[in-house]
């Protein structure tokens, strides 16, 4: 669909080559292409701006014009920069404490419940003994959904459909998990908007009481410019420990990943790559960089 960024850059540079040294002005066209590519990938407006400024500095420093393929060199520079920005290497979950409490949070429909199931499945396959806690009291059939997933993967689910209090349910779930010697307890929560004060207070209270070791912010990879607002607010309220990027089996370029990383600076720990319980992967910054750049 989109033209290869590298070709575009090569072409932009070709125009420049005849003009001798690189000046601020003749780099502008190239930078415009880069910025557009980033914005088309849903990288946040401000992030795209500061990133292109940095790349521009680098390009002026390296003598890009004398390179055989300036577009190639520049895309490599960008790829390296992006990879570094998205956090050099893979960050593992902290599972030292027994039981490890993991709280799942995010917007409506992001993929939290599905991820909770996938994570339980993943940890089970690594020899852990997880318990899922059905903490969404709002969405119709949210509890059934988690119970069905639990059954599919053979992981127990704590639920209390009579209760409407997510703090109480989380605490009951933890007690149940301790009783049954579960060494990981994963708490699913209802989807909520960052500007919904009441709902944000509620999840802050769940955190307060359960003292989770990991709080994972689940976000749809197709999210646009709003990703920064949401991530910022959730992080301010929860100080989450990691990000989960879902639905990457689609064809979105996933610029939200970069935006989130740049505003909250928390590691992306997992990616969702399908609806099945096995469709979970660790996050590779370099692959994400190439994807955002459309390569």
């Amino acid at each position: 669909m989109f033209e290869n960024l590298q070709d575009k850059l090569d072409r932009a540079f070709k125009v420049l080559k005849g003009q001798g040294s690189i000046t601020e002005i003749n780099v502008a066209e190239t930078m415009k292409e880069i910025r557009k590519a980033l914005l088309d990938a849903d990288v946040n407006y401000k992030t795209a701006k500061s990133f292109t400024d940095e790349v521009k500095e680098k390009a002026l420093g390296l003598n890009v014009l004398t390179a055989v393929s300036p577009g190639q060199l520049l895309t490599k520079v960008m790829n390296d920069e992006l990879t570094a920005l998205m956090g050099g290497e893979v960050t593992e979950l902290d599972l030292k404490t027994n039981p490890t409490i993991i709280l799942i949070a995010g917007l409506n429909g992001a993929g939290k419940t599905t991820f909770a199931g996938k994570l339980a499945n993943h940890l089970k396959s690594k020899g852990k003994k997880p318990l899922l806690v059905a903490g969404d009291m709002y969405r119709p059939a949210a509890v059934d959904q988690l119970q069905i997933l639990g059954e599919q993967i053979g992981v127990p689910v704590y639920a209390n459909i009579a209760s409407k209090d997510p703090v109480a349910i989380a605490m009951e779930g933890i007690a149940e998990g301790k009783k049954n010697h579960n060494n990981v307890i994963i708490i699913d929560t209802a989807g909520r908007l960052a500007i919904d004060e009441e709902m944000m207070n509620e999840i802050a209270a769940v955190k307060e009481h359960t003292k989770p070791h990991e709080i994972l912010f689940v976000v749809d990879a197709m999210t646009g410019q709003d990703a920064v607002n949401t991530a910022k607010t959730f992080n301010e309220r929860l100080d989450f420990t990691g990000v989960v990027l879902t639905k990457l089996d689609g064809d979105t370029r996933g610029g939200a990943a970069l935006s989130i990383k740049s505003v909250v600076n928390k590691p992306i720990k997992f990616i969702g790559t399908g609806e099945k319980m096995e469709a979970l992967d660790v996050f590779y910054p370099d692959r994400m960089a190439s994807r955002i750049l459309g390569m």
Partner: protein, 281 residues
Amino acid sequence: AGKSTVDDDVLDNLEEVLVTSDVGVTTTLKIIDRIQARVAKDKYLSTSELHRLLRDEIQLMLSENNSNDFRKFEYGQHKPYVIMVVGVNGVGKTTTIGKLAHKLKAEGLSVVLGAADTFRAAAVEQIKLWGERVGVRVVAQAMGSDPASVAYDTLQSAVANGEDVVIIDTAGRLHNKIGLMNELGKIKNVMEKVIPSAPHEILLVLDGSTGQNAFEQCKQFTEATDVNALAITKLDGTAKGGVVIGISDQFKIPVKYIGVGESVNDLQLFDKKAFVDSLFN
């Protein structure tokens, strides 16, 4: 605020507002070009005039396809009027169906829902609960059964009962999955067997917080199923849903509904003016 003429700063600022509302670079440039053409003619345009002009231009882009705004939750010509709801995972299809059923019922129409998402865990249970909540009948089969067969049953039952509106839920699917997209065609074809003109409305639900990928969603779903109406959900959040401007400009498909919350009453008819105003607030 002190500026009285349109200069580069004003246009840069405009660009930022539009891009951060997910309007996208291409559409933003198109809008700015239109504005600049006006500015060139009209040298002493004030910023307040610019804002009015801008709102007009965007509304125009939206209305080239939404020839008239929808005024009421009602359907006249076909009985039953059949709506098939499609979209990628988690955008709000099932919730929109529940809310729409509620609105139609309030207009005095009898509504039946078809639980043709037989795939996602507890999807059938979810739509059944919506049916209970708003007091409409739901036709369902077991999880894992053929969605086309559920759609067929629902239409037959609606015809037999003389119902006014049928709404068919479908499983969320990413538009790049060919097998799943072809399945939608099958569901649609089966409906034609019961009612040759059905489905009358194929409603693509887009999540209002989605960025530029919404273009590809619209393209692929339209190719697979002749989408003829759009719903934008989750506009009660901070996301502006600006991508819809470029989408309706390119695909000429009207936006019919917007979702503004999770409760039964949180569905509204799309109003261009209110939508454009919300971009600038």
